[in-house]
């Protein structure tokens, strides 16, 4: 269940450019805060159209951004339409979209989840933001695992002075609440950073914060493994330390490490969202679920434009999915 939710979220984000009619940056300045476009089957005269169509929105209140529809001309929705260009997986340029309105100039736009204050397609931003929010945290955590496992395995396997120095260092990192620590690390980077730097910066911060817990877990596990018979027999067969750690000890402590990964991944995904929400992470015109939530927390937006709150659902589903996965792993570990 958890895996299915997660896979859906990742796939939707990955194919976001194709699935949405527009890209995440294009602004339709004449239609800010446009509610989700309604699909119609029956026209104003009551005639049935097997192919659904939309009407052109018309603004009725320029202060509150209220719209109605111009029911004079219908615009059918078609599959596989050429439109705004985007990049498959970030590098293959394309302009094919799954659904859209035929014709390039002066056709109404099809916004499944409405538009934001700059008239940008919320769905496009949501899926594009997923590519950032769902990826940066786990990559940072992976790096943290790489460092943490090395430190922990060395520490637990060799013990002694090395062990105490490394573990004291880990304790210093762990003695602060995660978010405060992340904010302190964030202060070590310039305030405004380019979109390319943002990813590097966050991954660095997450690795710097996350390694300690992994190191301690690995160390305690390795400590328990070191005295087991298979290590002794590997030593007696003449295997060197690196080989014993990499080929014998690590595979045996894989399961608890993986469980821990599933349990901590949401923390780091949320950390990215939180940083971006607070305005010190991903910045405009890029999008993260955090920046989208920051746009939505404005009181007038909260009251009037519900579609701006859709990122809340994505964040919740992500956290739920990881929780379900983590619990399943814990259950199978104890049973």
């Amino acid at each position: 269940m958890g895996l299915a939710i997660l896979a859906t979220l990742y796939l939707l984000s990955l194919f976001g450019g194709f699935l949405t009619p527009y890209n995440h940056r294009s602004q339709a300045k004449e239609t800010p805060f446009l509610p989700p476009t309604r699909l119609h089957f029956f026209d104003a005269q009551g005639g049935f159209h097997p192919r659904p169509f939309i009407y052109r929105p018309r603004i009725t209140d320029r202060l509150m951004f209220l719209y109605d529809e111009e029911r004079t001309q219908t615009y059918p929705v078609r599959f596989f339409v050429r439109g705004e260009s985007y990049h498959w997986f970030g590098f293959i340029e394309s302009n094919w979209h799954l659904l859209g309105i035929e014709g390039s100039e002066n056709v109404p736009r099809l916004h499944w989840l409405g538009t934001d204050g700059l008239g940008r397609d919320v769905l496009a931003r949501l899926l594009y933001a997923g590519q950032i929010s769902l990826v940066i945290g786990p990559i940072g955590l992976l790096l943290a695992y790489l460092i943490g496992i090395c430190v922990g395995a060395l520490s637990g396997y060799f013990g002694g002075l090395l062990d105490s120095v490394l573990m004291r260092a880990a304790e210093v990192v762990m003695s602060l609440p995660t978010l405060i620590l992340i904010l302190a690390f964030r202060a070590a980077f310039p305030l405004s950073v380019t979109p390319r730097q943002v990813a590097t910066m966050m991954i660095t911060i997450f690795a710097a914060v996350g390694w300690a817990e992994v190191a301690r877990l690995t160390r305690n596990l390795a400590l328990a493994e070191r005295v087991k018979d298979y290590v002794t027999s590997a030593v007696s067969l003449g295997a060197n330390n690196v080989r014993i750690i990499a080929r014998h000890v690590l595979p045996n402590i894989r399961t608890p490490l993986l469980t821990q990964f599933a349990l901590t991944a949401p923390t780091f995904i949320l950390a990215e969202i939180t940083l971006s929400f607070l305005g010190v992470g991903v910045q405009e015109p890029s999008a993260s679920w955090g920046t989208m939530l920051a746009d939505a927390k404005d009181l007038s937006v909260l009251k009037n434009y519900w579609w701006m709150l859709v990122p809340v659902v994505c964040v919740f589903l992500t956290a739920l999915a990881f929780q379900l996965i983590g619990e399943r792993r814990e259950d199978s570990a104890t049973n």
């Binding site: 978010l179 904010l183 939530l293 909260l302």
Partner: protein
Amino acid sequence: MDSRLATSIAKLILKRLAVAVPMLLLISLISFALINAAPGDALAELKQDPRISQETVNRLREQYGLDRPWLARYGAWLSGVLRGDFGISLSEQLPVTTLIGSRLGNTLKLSLTATFFALLIALPLGALAAKRRGSWLDRATGALTLVSLSTPRIVLAIIALVFAARTGLFPIGNVRSLNVANDWSAASILDGWHHLMLPAVVMSLPLIAVYLRQTRAGLLEVLAADFIRTARAKGLSEWAVISKHAARVAAAPLITLFGYAIAALLSGSVIVETVMAWPGIGQLAVNATRTRDLPVLMCVVMITAVMMLLGNLLADALQLLADPRLRETFSTKPHEGTRR
């Protein structure tokens, strides 16, 4: 208090103090170095303002000591802190201690109320769920804990904002209304509670889930033990069995959790305070990050570090109170807990 308990608690405190002092020094040194590693300082924006001359900026830099090497500044900062002086905020031009003083109170008020709510709800509900295992109540609380564990605080806080904005039942932001005096009158206290309620509920929901799970799991384990069967066989009432016999044993892991929850609360308060505009130190930390206000950020880091250490100490001291076995064999290494 029996003397063995007193000595073991004294020993614990001394032991922790011996670890805490070098730890705090190291934390302060590392954070100071980190914050100074960034290009640009609090005056970088001033420099770009054409109305302010280079001389003024230089003079200000000198005044704040920003022109000296960071290690020298760390020394100055440290000697100030030892005298109780955390410096002057670069963005607010106020002593950091003044700035933090009232906000720390607000954060503690929020966190403690949230903890109180959580315990008030989680303990009886968890006990009931354990007692009636498999009942609809048990399944309902199980589902609720899953949902609340997987609802991040940022989501909870925004949902609460939507609720407050749409119904108008709760005020949004700040600790009191502008037109209500800050005194001990009934109106003022009521108004304070009105403002506190929603953020406290948002803070406490994830805590409720954690405590509830722990209570249920702990009680279930204990209720299966032999001494419970003995107690029941003696003819004790079910209430006496649970409150006198089972609860004491089941409380131990809960107490540990309580100590570590302080860390979770501080992280959580950063989010709740920022989203719901509650003027606490979490909000201050975020603002300080945005404005590169080094003295404020350092003070927040140190306060949270001290609170973490105190929380762990409190948890272990309570543990000694709850479990007499620990007093005899008191040779513990620091507990291994998980942060959130």
